[in-house]
Subunit: 579 residues, 2 copies
Amino acid sequence: MAKLLRVNMSRLEARFEDVPDKYRLLGGRALTSRIVADEVPPTCHPLGPRNKVVFAPGLLTGTTAPSSGRLSVGGKSPLTGTIKETNAGGITPQQLANLGVKAIIVEGDRPDKNWYTLVVDEAGARLEATPEYAGLGCYELNRRLWERYGEGAGIICIGPAGEMKMAIAGVSTNDSENDPGRYAGRGGMGAVMGAKGLKAIVVKSSKIFDVPVANKEAFKDAQQRLAKALHEHPVSGQTLPSLGTAALVNVINEAGALPTRNFSSGRFEHAARTGGEAMAEAVKQRGGKGKMGHACHPGCVIRCSNIIPDEKGEVLCAPVEYESTWALGANCGIGNLDHIAMLNRLCNDVGLDTIETGVTLGVLMEAGVLAFGDGPRAIDLLDRDVRQGTPLGRILGAGSAVAGKVYGVRRVPAVKGQGMPAYDPRAIKGIGVTYATSSMGADHTAGYAVAANVLKVGGFVDPLKPEGQAELSRNLQIATAYVDSTGLCLFTAFALLDIPDALQATVDMINAMYGTTWTVDDAVAYGKEVLRTEVAFNRAAGFTAAHDRLPEFMYEEKLAPHNEVFDVPDEDLDKVTVF
Amino acid sequence: MAKLLRVNMSRLEARFEDVPDKYRLLGGRALTSRIVADEVPPTCHPLGPRNKVVFAPGLLTGTTAPSSGRLSVGGKSPLTGTIKETNAGGITPQQLANLGVKAIIVEGDRPDKNWYTLVVDEAGARLEATPEYAGLGCYELNRRLWERYGEGAGIICIGPAGEMKMAIAGVSTNDSENDPGRYAGRGGMGAVMGAKGLKAIVVKSSKIFDVPVANKEAFKDAQQRLAKALHEHPVSGQTLPSLGTAALVNVINEAGALPTRNFSSGRFEHAARTGGEAMAEAVKQRGGKGKMGHACHPGCVIRCSNIIPDEKGEVLCAPVEYESTWALGANCGIGNLDHIAMLNRLCNDVGLDTIETGVTLGVLMEAGVLAFGDGPRAIDLLDRDVRQGTPLGRILGAGSAVAGKVYGVRRVPAVKGQGMPAYDPRAIKGIGVTYATSSMGADHTAGYAVAANVLKVGGFVDPLKPEGQAELSRNLQIATAYVDSTGLCLFTAFALLDIPDALQATVDMINAMYGTTWTVDDAVAYGKEVLRTEVAFNRAAGFTAAHDRLPEFMYEEKLAPHNEVFDVPDEDLDKVTVF
């Protein structure tokens, strides 16, 4: 029987609890959001003892379901003040599920100034005082943790940024090479770990695919149907495996929606140097440890990830994803892939969300603190200022909205305090609706309207017209809330949107595993319930429709080359969040 | 006939307009809040062209009414995001009223990077490009402005902090010695001036008491009754003239409510060195230009202000008020009056709100950026970091809530982003209700419950009990909204609360001046209408009951010496803002 693992940092106690019946069919985001709503006062201070950080593998995680190894991390965000769910892959989630841990709930606050490591293995769970890890970057920390706890251990950890409670500190998870580059990056959940004194979680299971399934036959059938769909769909079957997520750089640049130099243009003149094709070329030219088609967790059939090599063929950064190459590239006017990869590596090491780091750098560049395009200065800022916690490093670590406030910058591309990802909402209006209305703040994964606006997946809605965007975003937000709860990678969604049997297959797997009799309609209802929970939390925390808006400048300042402003009416936006 | 002066910075145009009938009986805060509600979109960016900054003398300003020379400054606050009214004395308001200017509305944004000065005199109004004033501190700026526009001119200006759009930048007005130490400090209205490129407003009128009054006889009678009441009341007649506002230091310290070292105790061991008695002693010992009983504007009968001399008898700072000596003193653990006065002078020069500066320094001290009690380092921070706009100076200039976010500090004594003034709400619970519920963020002047909680003015409500505090605060907020609209100094309120004829006299003056037939009930209704306007603006800007709360730590952490937490129930707080 799966258990909840409750870790009380005030008492330095880790205890297993039975899973309440109401949580039995919740997983991933549905579970983290429900636990946060049940246990965290919406108006509490995100860095105080009343906030909690919850880790939950998805409903299907730890089975042989393809690409199902995601881990949701939830709590109240120090960045946005909203409820937050951010998820990542890596080798930890499957091990956690196979140890029978349905969720880890970390609460309270350490009684001293020590840094602690939580170890979860077949013998149980225990907190260990590990003051020797204080200040370590994630690369060195991961190395030492494998040395101490054995190779193959799943690691969830924070870097110095999380220790310093920086609001954009992410939560790292490792891949099979023990690279810390898998990040539940958004919303500062690393700062919540830091505030509680939890430096790392080590998870060690000998099994990774053996979570009990009620009807193995039916499960296998559905699993194969999903795998087939993922293979057949051109995005998950071809584009992502060969060029990775960064294949989008040229596509979105072509669409005139690649935010450039702090969202002042939709085209970046050096885009091609920073995209998936350029990465594939670098891997080919430099060889060594470089790799395209890298899997972030065992059993992934998409394998969209990569290892970017340096000139000697050593690992420079693994991976460099679309969002990161954009945030640290086009958005900062940086067109040098090696600089971008180094910035990405530094984010992974000090423990920062790459998206928010790039957006904040863009705001600092707008303020004149450093010049657009100055890669070496940006590298120094991360490696020295953030690591040492200088005032400027702290400002960067506090995110784009705070940096804008500190420097009096009005052009801050953020919603609810969270910086926007790699799609300008004036040129892809559906994603603008998602940015505005998501409970998470500006988030692309919450309702990836780029699919229908640009990629023509799940239909087509003209990206430049306001009509139809609210409905598109709303439907995607519902579907996503379901997918984020299954443990399936969001990149399965391309197939789910276009191939009816694929969505059915996910429901069939859940039925086979849990003995339920869900239909696709139940999956939709499930997604809506997750969203209702999140919206209710935010309302109680003080968020209103006034916060479901894009920044003022995007309603006024036309974006080249389409010369569009964001013009989805407020009334449309207000309809999105009624689930 | 009085006019509105509309200054459009985008067109660099200053034009007089007729006063709409609906504004005829509005003045001071009632007028700034009404204009802001009518003309500023509640969700606009405070530093963008849609925000406005409005300057309005009170209904009685420019007459012979005693202590009636206040100027309200209103707009949307860059610090809080709420509507904001902050007021100051000095020699400008009476001149403005006598020039027939009912309000100055500054809107838009400069078309270039120039700094502008608005000149208002008997010849009209004009904008002058004055790039030579860029970067000047207020002392030197004021000196140059008198040199250029003549001695005796009223000056409203900003220092470098306002130019840099720091969210805690205040608006300076000068006294009769051209000292810039009169501040409409709170809420960053100096940053709004800075965002618009308006460095200064120069006001020159040959008359200061000649605003037309319909019934001079009746006016004179009422004016004399008010003057008598102010003279008779022990606070306005004795304490304030002799010891100034800083007489409160020992009183509030004795009450165990003087926030010390970032609100970690209610008693400061060096309080006596920093209070009114110590100031009077310094004035006596050092002589020279030092003075107690200084009037901030002509016709003030209270004269609560002071000029603190340095060891040579030269002006060190004029004035050092209670709030400033607390913020820069006890709250920072600084017990050296000369350090405090120097910090105050630097705030006046670079253009910062002293309260928010002290509260932010307290948060930075809590974070370990500098040590509690380190006056010289704090002086350096203001004189070098803020003036030069270093990253640390910028953090300080962004206020306590942002500094707390940047440094991951949970103990931030702020509401709606504005730092708390000099009364710990755990030991004076009525003022806690005002902090929590005022539309302005944590503000003591909005409903000065200290009067009944500690000073036994306007009755007595036990400061340590939660009962009765909400009603007390609500009634005071209503009365204050009326007083802030008349142009009368809030220090008239002690007499207004205790001497029934004093409040009647203010109504009689308005009737005599405007030909109205108001009763005291009308004054109450007037105050309520101001508050309704402000609450409605905030609601539309996204504020809810969740924002009408004190910081979490004040509900949990007991304050010495009374060992009390803040325990006024949320339900009580929620009743306050229904007007």
